[in-house]
């Protein structure tokens, strides 16, 4: 190796310590340690705002192989605080690559750590749960670092959406005449969701997380979309209240993805719970009950809705086949539905792609 390896320490709140080398960035960052099992898609993962506040371990050992291209950004910047790898590729090999991963991490000040037994780390998180952790290139005392990991306040109860939402409202127009107008609440919305809605023929007005129901309705939408986003949905009272108000007052199709799904669930009075280590990967099997089909989906969530807490007017439309987790519900009478996994993929399979045109159709039918 040509570059001088800089030692890095990873300390977990339960006292587990990993030693690796820093390939990008420096300093000390706190976050929730999670793992992602996608073999490709590190750039999309890095830039997905849902990962705000997290330290992400990639289970695939070679990361960075195909470099980084602006086309694959899911937002304007990375949100992952530290990317933990077995091995980071120095020189990408792909005609799409605009730069190498290390350069990209360096540019955005994201810690890149390699030389970690990522499988051991993953197994640890699987058995002990996602936990508060710290990555440091400045601390060499492991015990001290563990103490700091323990002392860190963590992500639970924190409103991260406000940190990643857009500052002001903006509109994206489809090619040709719009089928419907969606007001999309941005809690950390991935670009590909906007792209998919637009591809489905929607005019999309993206509004900040704290937008009120009245403000949204003033935009005269044909439907409401609640986006994905990071962290614990419970502190997002304003969003839950907005959703409640929209459900109660606006007779409009509504669609939520991931955090949006959790918010919608909470708005209907469902209860949520924290998954032990979450679902993060591109190979999660979902059963879509209406079609009796299995869809392989991209997922990224640490929280879920308790199936037995759903009110009678909601029915479960999808379950995760691995652990039975509720992956989607819909209103029995009204055009309101939501999905826990990521139909926009990016990264991951396109099996749930149809939901965007389905939503567009609902809106079109509803206005007609």
């Amino acid at each position: 190796m040509t570059t001088q390896p800089r030692p890095a320490l990873i300390a977990l709140a339960d006292g587990t310590v990993f030693r690796g080398q820093c390939v990008a960035g420096d300093g000390e960052v706190f976050g929730e340690m999670v793992f992602n099992t996608s073999m490709t898609g590190y750039q999309e993962i890095l830039t997905d705002p849902s990962y705000a506040g997290q330290l992400v371990t990639m289970t695939y050992p070679h990361i960075g192989n195909y470099g980084v291209t602006p086309d694959d950004d899911e937002s304007s910047q990375p949100h992952v605080r530290a990317l933990i790898m077995k091995q980071c590729c120095r020189r990408p090999s792909n005609q799409r690559a605009a730069m190498g991963l290390i350069e990209y991490l360096e540019q955005h000040g994201v810690l890149g750590i390699e030389g970690i037994d990522t499988r051991q780390l993953t197994r640890h998180v699987r058995t002990e749960g996602a936990m508060n952790s710290v990555v440091s290139t400045t601390e060499s005392d492991a015990d001290a670092l563990v103490e700091r990991a323990r002392a860190w306040e963590g992500l639970e109860g924190r409103d991260l959406a406000q940190e990643v939402t857009c500052d002001e409202t903006y509109v994206v127009e489809p090619e040709g005449e719009a089928r419907a107008h969606v007001v999309a609440f941005d809690f950390g919305m991935k670009r590909n969701i906007v792209r998919k809605l637009v591809e489905a023929g929607c005019r999309v007005t993206i509004v900040p997380a704290t937008t009120t129901a009245a403000e949204a309705m003033a935009l005269q939408p044909d439907g409401i979309f609640l986006s994905n986003g990071p962290g614990d949905p419970r502190p997002l009272h304003y969003a839950i209240d907005t959703a409640k108000e929209l459900i109660a007052t606006a007779d409009l199709p509504m669609f939520g993805i991931c955090l949006g799904h959790e918010i919608l669930g909470l708005a209907f009075g469902a209860e949520i719970y924290k998954l032990k280590f979450g679902h993060r990967g591109a190979n999660q099997p979902i059963k879509e009950h209406a079609s009796d089909r299995i869809l392989i989906t991209s997922e990224n969530h640490g929280w879920g809705i308790k199936g037995d807490s759903l009110p009678p007017m909601l029915e479960i439309t999808r379950n995760n086949l691995n652990d039975g987790c509720v992956e989607g519900f819909q209103h029995r009478e009204r055009p309101i539905f939501s999905i826990q996994c990521h139909p926009e993929a990016s990264p991951g399979p396109h099996d749930s792609d149809h939901l965007f045109s389905y939503f567009a159709e609902l809106m079109q039918r509803h206005t007609a």
């Binding site: 792909n94 699987r126 990967g281 691995n322 399979p349």
Partner: protein, 1075 residues
């Protein structure tokens, strides 16, 4: 959807003999399918002609037909068994072709048999390139532009438009047979003509070249509910232009971004849906232009394949097993994932390691065939290795290849950069050959940069960069004098995949010293688990690989355990037979309550199925790798005598390192291999051996040959499969041989034996327990001495031996087993020459014939032997020394790969060349021989014109054959000498010209299919040119041929049997009462 209740009895077709392009991966898939369907309470009818398979064990199916896989025979079996359905997708191309024929002839409809897995339309659309191309058009997917043509003239009209290089793909041939890349007009004409000839429908596709594009494969599964999942992506290290079977391949894909991968995934799903494979696995190949990212579809296999076996082993997802369950109506979500237990099979495996497959070639076996790689597959086996990084996995693969290398170079055997010019290295990079990876190493040694190596070899820079990292680590090891005491650097070197042997070479020390240094530094591997899910869920299946990291997941139990060492990659001389023995050892010892631990590196095998043994280590079979496992597991015993030469080569060193080897001691095994010691032993026992000697120089060799008298048989010591063994008729040939052979094997002397011309040969397989020696079976070779036993057809029981000689053979076998203190299996080869019995060879270990004998006699020799080794005597197992009595006749026939090696001569000799074997069982020798021939793809004719041309030694004997054929209604045609000789004995034969005598000559007659059988025994070495052409023509045009008089006699007997009645299929279960 639960399983269909209307299906009770299912027929499976296997893939027949091992041939290039179709190896034991189909035993793996077929065995899985049998197990999966029987689990469901279904009755299984199995057809497969290959006795060395696990699937043809009588316990695997309810009704097992070891019969030729032809549509006629299959229909007869269908008529007997009346199955509800036929599953054609787990037996490779052979099964698929048979199923298509059965469907098209109306046989399936006549007998009310449903095709499950894939319907006939789907199979045809996938297999017929023209239909496939149309289907892809419909699905909006692009393929390389090209044309289907039926004549060379037609083909030539497209040359200008397509532009060289042009890819030629014959329709409906397996493994790319007859295909190629044409760079100029001359090559184009030759390849197109050959392709049209080989294609059963006289058609080839000529298309634009996508040479140098990145090549990918996706393994796809679909269920009846139209759910589709991708099991694995594979990226070829070698770009387009080299058959994927001949490419180094890597899982998962390395150089595709998620966006690009999803394009492939979507396309794969569209392909399987459009082709309409109902259920099960398919393999879809893509090419991607590295410059633009443009993707084209190359082809699809609507069945499980070599790649799906690899994908199964690479991910832990058992494709064939799941495919079988889907075929009977289950959906993916109804089938549990064995490994995680809690999660269903309806997901896409994700892996957290790198898998590398490296092909194993055997060009050295086919002199006259250029060592070049193209779109036709030529490798005979493969090895797979798992590592946490590409570096580690690649180097582990390189040291698993059994080519005498300890990794990717840096082992003292590299091409010498000083003796290679830059031009030669460039040539080695541009023209792919079996040595390509070593040319890349040489290029780096000579200072070529990655860009240049990429430009010349088209290997993606990502892979080359990793190789540079390995290369640099090698340099660092060589230059860092304290590396063996520097824990960090040593650990890094091991993590880069360097073996102790490479380290020893680079540090000019011994492997032992490196091992010791590592132990002192605490640098040892850990074992990780193949779990389908990158550790997201707990794994219950102990399927492990080693790596140099932190955490060890392999939990060593305190059960009684036995390690079985497998055979590594298939090669000629070491194939599925040894894996069969290993699997049997696992089964038997598992039944007896031992924890069985399998170690092997061959992804095609049943032994590396995660549920064959209790625990599987997918690891190279080297002293270093095995010692680690032994140290970790502390087994009660390690079995080395079942896996062929690979584990045997390790035996002495393992034993010296304290490994508890059970069964016959490695010293005894070694003694039997050591000519001098063994000769002494035989003299003590009063057993006769052909006169022989051992030479270390040309002078010694001449002196020995002089003493013994020509012809003599010469070979290097310590070889399997008669490698480099030849019969030498005079001193000049001897001198030539000594020059080439000695350089081939410098540490070992050359063995010279008297050649017993015309002798009858016999093989005996026994199991001994130190007390009793049980004769498992005695086989008589059909070909006379001089043909390697692996290439010779043989018959059990022997049909032409005196009672006295039989007794001598049995007694001598017992004496030798006792003298060698054999515990387990032993094989002896005898020759009877002028009524004298000679011992040719003794191997106190599993032999190639063990599965055949087991199937012929109903006694599972390998299981019995495994139990003996674990301490259960033969009498404890209810066996005596009595030989099994059989009422039927079994014939084994070898299957040769000459059709894959342009320019290779189809003659048999002392060096083994066959890749596989088939078995025919019948009431008479004639019927059994006929079935064996049919199974081997050689349909003995029932009438027509037979060509005869034999050497002087065989003239006398051929008279009777000619007379019998004439009486059977055949007309005869012969070359000059033979014709005159026959006429003198009152037999009329038409005369035909030899090739040098003018036209039309015999080759023309073969080509125009006037001749239905060729009997051609080779002249002596000097004048064999003509014969070579005759045999090549017979091979090329698929005309049955025999090169020995004894083969001709057997053929006549088979033909007579055929005229009485067509061969009658009969299930193995009816021959032997099981148990």
């Amino acid at each position: 959807m639960p399983r269909r209740k209307d299906l009770q009895k299912i027929m499976l077709i296997g893939s027949g003999p091992i041939v290039i392009g179709q190896a034991c991966e189909f035993d793996y898939s077929g065995t899985q399918a049998c197990k999966a369907l029987r689990e469901e309470g279904l009755e299984i009818v199995l057809v497969n002609s290959n006795p060395a398979t696990i699937m043809t064990d009588p316990e695997m199916a309810d009704r097992t037909y070891i019969e030729p896989i032809t549509a006629e025979v299959c229909e007869r079996i269908i008529a007997i068994e009346k199955p509800d359905a036929l599953l054609p997708t787990v037996g490779g191309q052979t099964a698929l072709n048979a199923a298509v024929e059965l469907a098209e002839s109306g046989a399936l409809e006549r007998h009310g048999v449903e095709l499950i897995g894939a319907k006939i339309d789907a199979i045809k659309t996938a297999e017929d390139r023209e239909l496939f191309k149309k289907a892809m058009d419909d699905a909006g997917l692009e393929m390389p532009h090209g044309y289907f043509v039926n004549t060379l003239e037609q083909a030539q009209t497209h040359i200008d438009e397509l532009g060289f290089p042009i890819i030629v793909r014959p329709s409906f041939t397996m493994g790319g047979s007859g295909g190629g890349v044409a760079y100029n007009r001359e090559e184009f004409d030759r390849i197109v003509a050959r392709g049209i000839e080989l294609s059963p429908i006289d058609e080839v596709l000529i298309e634009i070249s996508v040479l140098g594009w990145k090549e990918y494969e996706l393994e796809v599964m679909r269920d009846l509910n139209d759910n589709v999942v991708i099991i694995c992506s594979i990226e070829n290290f070698d770009a387009m232009g080299i058959h994927t079977g001949d490419s180094v391949t890597v899982a998962p894909a390395q150089t595709l971004s998620d966006k690009e991968f999803q394009v492939l995934r979507d396309a794969a799903i569209r392909v399987i849906r459009r082709i309409g494979v109902d259920t099960g696995g398919s393999n879809i190949q893509f090419a991607v232009d590295p410059a633009t990212g443009k993707m084209v579809v190359i082809e699809m296999n609507p069945r499980v394949s070599r790649s799906s076996a690899l994908a199964s082993k690479a991910t832990g997802f058992p494709i064939a097993k799941i495919a079988a369950k889907l075929a009977i109506g289950y959906t993916l979500d109804e089938i549990p994932n064995d490994i995680t237990r809690e999660t269903p099979a309806s997901f896409e495996p994700t892996i957290d390691y790198v898998v590398t497959k490296i092909p194993r070639w055997a060009f050295e076996k086919f002199p006259g065939t250029p060592d070049t790689l193209d779109t036709q597959m030529r490798s005979v086996g493969e090895t797979m290795a798992i590592g946490r990084t590409f570096h580690e996995s690649f180097q582990k693969g390189m040291r698993s290849l059994e080519v005498g290398r300890s990794g990717w170079g840096a082992d003292g055997k590299d091409l010498d950069p000083l003796r290679l010019s830059d031009a030669e290295v460039r040539e080695g990079l541009v023209n792919p050959s079996s040595q390509r990876l070593f040319f890349i190493k040489a290029a780096m040694d000579k200072g070529f940069d990655v860009e240049e190596i990429h430009r010349l070899s088209r290997v993606d820079p990502w892979f080359l960069d990793r190789l540079v990292e390995i290369f640099d680590t090698g340099r660092q090891i060589a230059s860092q004098d304290d590396i063996l005491t520097d824990r960090g650097s040593l650990h890094h070197a091991k993590a880069m995949g360097f073996s102790d042997r490479q380290l020893a070479f680079l540090r000019s020390t011994s492997e032992d010293k490196v091992r010791q240094a590592r132990h002192e530094q605490g640098v040892r591997p850990v074992y990780k688990t193949v779990d389908t899910c990158a550790a997201e869920f707990a794994a219950y299946t102990p399927y492990h690989y080693s790596t140099y990291e932190q955490e060890d997941e392999s939990v060593s139990t305190d059960r009684r355990k036995i390690i079985i060492l497998g055979g590594g990659p298939n090669r000629i001389g070491q194939g599925i037979e040894f894996d069969y023995c290993c699997v049997h050892a696992c089964f038997a010892l598992r039944e007896d309550g031992f924890e069985t631990i399998m170690v092997n590196s061959n992804p095609e095998t049943v032994s590396t199925d995660y549920d064959t043994a209790d625990k599987l280590y997918f690891e190279p079979l080297t002293v270093e790798d095995v010692l680690h496992i032994v140290e970790h597991e502390k087994p009660e015993g390690v079995i080395v005598q079942f896996g062929g030469q690979t584990p045997l080569n390790l035996a002495l060193e393992l034993e010296a390192n304290g490994v508890p080897i059970i069964g016959t001691s490695p010293k005894s095994i070694d003694l039997a291999e050591d000519r001098e010691h063994f000769g002494n032993l035989l003299r003590e026992l009063g057993i006769r051996q052909p006169e022989n000697g051992m030479a270390r120089s040309v002078e010694e060799a001449r002196a020995i040959a002089q003493r013994i008298g020509y012809p003599v048989l010469v070979r290097p010591s310590y070889v399997l499969g008669g490698r480099a063994m030849v019969t030498v008729y005079d001193e000049a040939r001897l001198d030539h041989y000594m020059e080439t052979a000695i350089s081939a094997s410098p540490e070992h002397p050359i063995l010279i034996d008297r050649f017993l011309e015309g002798a009858q040969e016999f093989d005996v397989d026994v199991v001994a327990d130190g007390d009793i020696v049980m004769i498992g079976g005695i086989m008589q070779h059909i070909e006379h001495a001089g043909v390697h036993s692996g290439d010779s057809a043989c018959v059990l029981p022997p049909h032409d031996i005196s009672a006295q000689n039989l007794e001598t053979i049995i007694n001598q076998t017992r004496e030798m087993a006792q003298a060698l203190k054999v515990i387990g299996l032993m094989n002896v080869q005898f020759a009877i020459h002028d009524e004298d019995v000679y011992v040719l060879e003794v191997n106190p270990r599993a032999s190639r014939t063990v599965p055949f004998v087991s199937k012929a006699t109903g006694r599972p020799l390998a299981k019995i032997a495994a139990r003996v080794m674990s301490g259960k005597s033969l009498s404890d197992q209810g066996f005596s020394q009595r030989i099994a009595e059989v009422e039927h006749v079994s014939v084994k026939e070898a299957v040769l790969p000459f059709n894959k090696f342009a320019g290779a001569d189809g003659r048999l000799g002392p060096e083994m060349k066959s890749t596989g074997e088939v078995m025919g069982i019948g009431a008479t020798f004639g019927e059994a021989f006929l079935k064996a021939q049919l199974g081997a793809g050689s349909m003995l004719p029932s009438g027509g014109k037979v060509f005869l041309s034999v050497n002087d030694r065989d003239k006398e004997g051929v008279v009777d054959v000619a007379r019998r054929l004439q009486q059977a209604g055949f007309s005869l045609i012969a070359t000059d000498g033979t014709q005159v000789y026959l006429a003198r004995h009152g037999i009329d034969a038409e005369r035909i010209l030899k090739i040098h005598e003018g036209r039309p000559h015999v080759e023309d007659a073969i080509r125009s299919r006037e001749i239905c059988l060729v009997i051609n025994s080779p002249q002596d070495e000097q004048s064999q040119h003509d014969d070579t052409y005759v045999r090549r023509a017979a091979i090329l045009h698929g005309v049955p041929y025999t090169t020995t008089l004894s083969g001709a006699v057997a053929a006549a007997t088979g033909i007579e049997a055929l005229q009485v009645s067509p061969p009658q299929p009969r299930a193995v279960q009816d021959y032997h009462r099981v148990g």
